[in-house]
């Protein structure tokens, strides 16, 4: 008998009506001859309401109490899903993270899963229950409630699938799968049948909002294959897995765009040890995430350092760096918002040369100026003007034949 883990996000259980739809699908999956474990997120909006309440009573709520508070969101949802299954003639039982055996470390609000003891889940599955588990939460060895942080429910699903040896792990979401580019930007973007963990990680890290990197990393580490698919239709989604030879034949798998970026450049930073460190310590001290960092070649005992941040963080960054510019004796700081990042990703890039050339050529022909370039083993990122972003994505998508590839493999 196949054993399946299905994870439903907050949008998928966002109303009583949608909860009933989830219940129907769980029962249907069981009737197709599967044992079913459902991992459920809090109903959309609930977590935000709880956060608001917390900040209404405390400017800086303790993380332990935040976990006690937030865990109620998923607990509410599992009870409702189990009720809905039972109301439709199915047989379901809900388990909190603790009851499901999800043991974590003690780092409240961003705990790591230490171990899963799925004994109770196996017993309930043997008794033909649909087991409905709260995502995002666990318990420490001394019985404290913890939560796993952003993307925590995906992580619960993938870790559970690994721990119980599931035959499949399906991540239900509000999109049909992983696409070669955002279909709202590129009309002929194609849903991929398969994607390598590394590709999904690079796409997640460059603006594609399908999965949190953390859950994908966990899946990669423990070799848990999973499928990203829509809870609103029956279409197959995209399966994330280890690299197969076949996958390497395709040079580029996807194009992603991230908007609302700003570029910051420090000119003529003296080429002395510690200068870069001073810059990025100043920025990170305010919890500002720095993305692409580029340092130009040093040929006159000074160098230019550029990086990108979210546009919203620009005023604060300028403020933080003003004293640093003087301190490290750089000539000046130049910064502007209104830029976007475009990335092309594919594990096939490793074995193919000329990807960068083809990308730059296609953007050049489109008269799109490249402000920064950064590369990793399976990704090339360029920073361009935000107004050019959509056109750049369309040109790149076409230049690498992604629509054609998508069609060919369907």
């Amino acid at each position: 008998m196949r054993l399946i883990v299905q994870k439903y996000g907050g949008t998928s259980v966002g109303s009583p009506e949608r909860i009933r739809k989830v219940a129907e699908r769980l029962i249907e999956t069981q009737r197709e001859g599967c044992r079913v474990v459902a991992v459920i997120s809090a109903m959309a909006g609930v977590t935000d309401n709880l956060l608001k309440l917390a900040h209404d009573v405390s400017p800086q709520p303790s993380e332990r109490e935040m976990d006690v508070l937030l865990a109620t969101g998923e607990q509410t949802a599992i009870a409702l899903v189990a009720m809905a299954v039972n109301a439709l003639g199915g047989r379901a039982i809900s388990l909190t993270g603790a009851q499901a055996g999800v043991l974590t470390d003690r780092v409240h609000t961003k705990a790591k899963i230490a171990n899963i003891s799925p004994k109770q889940i196996h017993e309930l599955l043997s008794d033909d229950y649909i087991v409905v588990v709260a995502g995002f939460q666990g318990q420490t060895a001394d019985g404290e409630t913890t939560t796993l942080g952003r993307g925590g429910s995906d992580l619960t699903a993938i870790a559970l699938a690994g721990a119980i040896g599931a035959d499949a792990c399906q991540i239900y979401t509000d999109v049909d799968g992983v696409f070669s580019c955002d279909p709202r930007i590129v009309g002929d973007a194609m849903k991929m049948e398969e994607i390598a963990y590394d590709e999904l990680l690079e796409l997640a890290g460059s603006g594609a909002k399908v999965m949190q990197s953390r859950a994908v990393e966990f899946a990669k580490k423990f070799g848990v294959e999973f499928e990203v698919r829509s809870s609103f239709n029956r279409n197959p989604g995209t399966i994330a897995k280890e690299v197969t030879t076949n996958m390497e034949d395709v040079v580029i798998r996807g194009v992603s765009i991230e908007r609302h970026q700003a570029k910051v450049t420090l000119d003529d930073v003296p080429d002395t040890p510690g200068a870069a460190s001073r810059i990025f310590s100043a920025v990170s001290s305010a919890n500002i995430l720095v993305d692409v960092i580029v340092q130009s070649a040093s040929d006159r005992n000074a160098t230019d350092i550029s990086f990108t941040i979210h546009e919203a963080d620009l005023p604060r960054t300028e403020e933080l760096l003003a004293p640093v510019v003087k301190e490290i004796c750089a000539t000046r700081l130049i910064s502007h918002g209104g830029v976007a990042k475009l990335s092309v990703v594919g594990i096939g890039m490793r074995s193919h040369s000329g990807v960068a050339a083809r990308l730059f050529d296609c953007l050049g022909q489109g008269n799109i100026n490249i402000e920064l370039i950064s590369t990793s083993e399976i990704k090339i990122t360029v920073v361009i003007a935000e107004k050019d972003a959509d056109r750049a994505a369309q040109l790149t998508h076409a230049a690498f034949g992604l629509a054609r590839y998508g069609t060919a493999t369907r």
Copy 2:
């Protein structure tokens, strides 16, 4: 060091503002040199919202899942109270029912407390924490979440106070204490300083909405004294305790009124075994609560049986009894709504005669007709027309000198 349990109901924690007030009082109590355990209900309205969600997904939600769902209400509240205490510079920690060691039987939605293991509470108190415990909930021996049913948070507070050997148990509510009559009806009704458990039980059972009988019975059984007082002011409330000699000097302690009652009479019920049983089985099969039952003396092989129910249950009761009237060969069924119950309660009644006479006399002088009379050891209840209820309460309150008594003991 004094050890105090303070219980706050849903209204007392009904908003972030009120939660801060509760936090202030907890800190203040600790600063007065006490160790403090707080027992918290769900924020007012939350439980109703959860019930609505449950009924949106299921016509008849399973009781196990209902407990998983409802327990989130108190869990949310304890986290917020603990956060609020910490925000005000105090040191608090929240515990769910399970974490507080509240072990129950397996009867979901109306579980009974089997045992309390307060080890963790004692340890946290020694570490100077204000311990914030979720009321209304517990856990079975095999880790299932349970709830205690109506009045469950009062029960948690009283049981915890007993288990940890608290020096005081304070039940904070939205009234100032237990009054000799409802102050909205009787202007000079007086707050009692003390009340016997039995008196409070009889008052609770006859319309005074201060405490659920169940919590009072528990307190009586284990001899836990508690104080009912307001969370909106600093006035002392009413202490519930075992009988003291002093208390027996007072004949009547309180007058209660319960409105919206209906009276049902079956005339000429043949005086054969099983007739009464047929009547009340039929009514209770529909979960209709029958209150006062009176059977008149049998002197002609037939008897009249009367009882009261809530007015809203009258149509269904008439429907259920129509066939029974024929079956047991009673002559007819007479029923009408628009009646009220008036009860006078006092343990002093045991040792004083003439209470009934004084009550009937006072109502007679007020030209108030008595439709039914029922007595217990420490209570006399009369059924009267609802339109006379307020006036009857005022006359009775005055006739037994309750206002004067209240004043004398303040």
